[in-house]
Subunit: 401 residues, 2 copies
């Protein structure tokens, strides 16, 4: 049985509030054998106090050994089985630039490329042109019009852009036009099912008109399209949990992911203190708050152990302000580990801390990976986290009589 088949049946009304604080990439590793992780090195008295009152555990974002991208990492802690729900590459790219997809959209990742006089690709990434040069191109491509369909072109970094086609009955099963090699022309878009034929036709027409617009560009005089994908069919937080959910995030990717599961994306905060201020302002209007702290991931990706430690201490300093709102359930966890040692996402399980009045205390007195290893929540797949949050919030009825 899917987790949501259960929550749909058991969800109950309540005035309780749940805060899910996601410290992106929080889990870490020691830099040297015998050393400490970032979380073990940082001083975080407020998180430790929560740990003492609450219950700890370790989460597998997907399965033991599986490193998730941001999409599956967040779907898991949102309670969506990341092996059941997949977000296509085009849809994730659109989400990442903050584009809100609708049911009628097919999104595609685009690359500018360089074509020679015969139309063959000489550079698949158009010399990795800088964003300052590529962003205006996206604006110009927005001039392309095709009858019966709306088109949106959004700039991404360097040689990348996103194309969204909006119209009735557009299938998402179209093959990439990137031939993955140079000296040959881009491939024509090809549908792999009848429902996607119209999508392929629109893509062909777009490419022809775009090439006309780009033909005098020195580097970016062509383009390829990859990862055609419709909006993923994710049931909403309201429907599966009965929660009025809000997301408070700075970066477009996480705002987009929250939007995909039906959360209301609040304001345009630029810093964590602004996020916390927004949380306070919106406290009465929602049942559930997803609060995203990006900086533990970005410092980990940079391989900057000391900076990650500092960011953890910064997060810790904000805890009293959040706890003062007296949420029924406060969960602090991560979507995946990003050890500074590896400079990338990793498969290592992430610590989770759940604080509520109904916690059974465990032996944990601090919030660290090693403490969490022995925590009362045990080790479990992230997709079960929302069941625990709902239960402690008094929002999950008894199963069976």
């Amino acid at each position: 049985m899917d987790v949501h088949d259960l929550t749909r049946r058991l969800k109950e009304k309540s005035h309780s509030k749940i805060v899910l604080l996601v410290a992106d990439g929080l889990g870490g590793l020691p830099m040297e054998p015998g050393g400490k992780t970032e979380l073990e090195t940082a001083r975080h008295p407020n998180l430790d106090q929560l740990a003492e009152r609450g219950t700890l555990g370790l989460l597998h974002p997907v399965l033991p050994g599986v490193t998730p991208g941001s999409g599956p990492g967040h779907l898991g802690i949102f309670g969506y089985d990341p092996l059941k729900y997949e977000i296509g590459r085009g849809a994730l790219e659109a989400t990442g630039v903050g584009f809100h997809l609708t049911e009628n959209d097919v999104a595609v990742r685009g690359n500018y490329c360089t074509l020679d006089g015969d139309g063959n690709i000489t550079d698949r990434r158009a010399g990795r042109i800088p964003t300052e040069e590529s962003a205006p191109l996206a604006k110009r491509l927005n001039a392309v019009k095709i009858a019966g369909v709306e088109l949106f072109v959004e700039p991404v970094k360097e040689h990348r852009f996103v194309l969204v086609m909006r119209g009735e009955g557009l299938g998402g099963n179209v093959l990439d036009t990137d031939p993955q090699s140079t000296g040959v022309p881009p491939l024509a878009p090809k549908a792999t099912d009848p429902e996607s034929r119209r999508t392929a036709e629109i893509a062909s027409e777009f490419i022809a008109k775009a090439h006309e617009i780009l033909k005098h560009e020195p580097k970016a005089n062509g383009l390829t399209l990859r990862g055609f994908a419709p909006k993923p069919k994710l049931p909403s937080y309201e429907e599966v949990y009965g929660l009025r959910a809000a997301a408070i995030a700075v970066y477009p990717m996480y705002r987009g992911l929250a939007h995909l599961v039906g959360m209301t994306v609040l304001g345009h905060p630029q810093t964590f203190p602004e996020q916390v201020a927004l949380l306070k302002e919106s406290w009465e209007k929602y049942d559930f708050f997803f609060l995203h702290f990006k900086y533990t991931d970005s410092t980990g990706e940079d391989g900057n152990f000391e900076a990650k430690v500092k960011r953890i201490e910064e997060l810790d300093a904000a805890i009293p302000e959040i706890a003062a709102l007296d949420p029924s359930v406060l969960v602090v966890t991560a979507d995946h580990s990003t050890p500074s040692k590896l400079k990338s996402h990793s498969w290592h399980p992430v610590p989770v801390l759940l604080s509520s009045e109904t916690c059974r205390p465990d032996t944990c007195r601090s919030f660290t990976e090693n403490a969490a290893t022995l925590g009362g929540l045990g080790h479990f797949e992230a997709k079960y986290l929302m069941l625990l949050a709902l239960a402690h919030a008094g929002r999950l009825a008894k199963y069976g009589a």
Copy 2:
């Protein structure tokens, strides 16, 4: 989603090496309340050193409480869901005598029996005739020829043998001919689906011709057939993990199981030092090595606690030689527990130790069941072990963007 659907998608090339050292039946129990297990009693400084640097956990070979045979026990740690893949009894028996089954084979377990003048069974096991008497009979039965099919008869212990039929389109769904009682004749082979009719006909013809050959035997003048089974359809290590895998085992059963998942079975070692020597010689040629240490199981089966302790110490002494090869990932675990106290396989979870440079250290300082209970890997189903090994070996790409 099956684990292999994931590994097929995410597997990556690497020059890393993985060693899976299986100490068969390693998990144990104290003989007396308040006592220690075999692993807790043995001195194993080298394994303890690995434990200090690596991460520990407990594996459920199948599910909590389920005692596996050698087949499911190994399938689990090889990463094959033992509840999805079943090895039919005939196929396991053939595997156990080192017979390499092909796609066109159906294997059956045979028992010699004693028939009276009316053809009724008087002894279902032919007085458990000794192997010295039964082995020559298998050789004689190899003289049986049937048009359109190849037959192989292999001796097993005492009153047992294996029959393999090789031919096109032979189904494996034929009922046992052993009536499970005396005073009645053996049953005729009966197919339960159209695809297995030809198999049943061949079996009938084999029985008639075999009875002719055996008719003057004082005890073994008849036979019954049980557990008809084709070669199990197991995807190969190469296909699901992208690993060139080698098996180094003394006993036919484990050599056979490794062969079934597409490992190359190396040499004919007779002792563990010979196995380790073979590992060194073959180091450059493979990505993955399954090294099987039998003696922790056989001493456990004998109920010989002291002998099992000694065997563990013998294993420990070989660890530095293996570690000196500097594998990217060294896993030490078992296919199941074989507590001397029970003199049999058991359901108790088995300790697992994973050592690599990307381990998150836990609090474990020794390799024992009790330390493993608190280890950083937690308690998990054996089928996930290969995901962890691949991740630590840098052979598993990120899931989703």
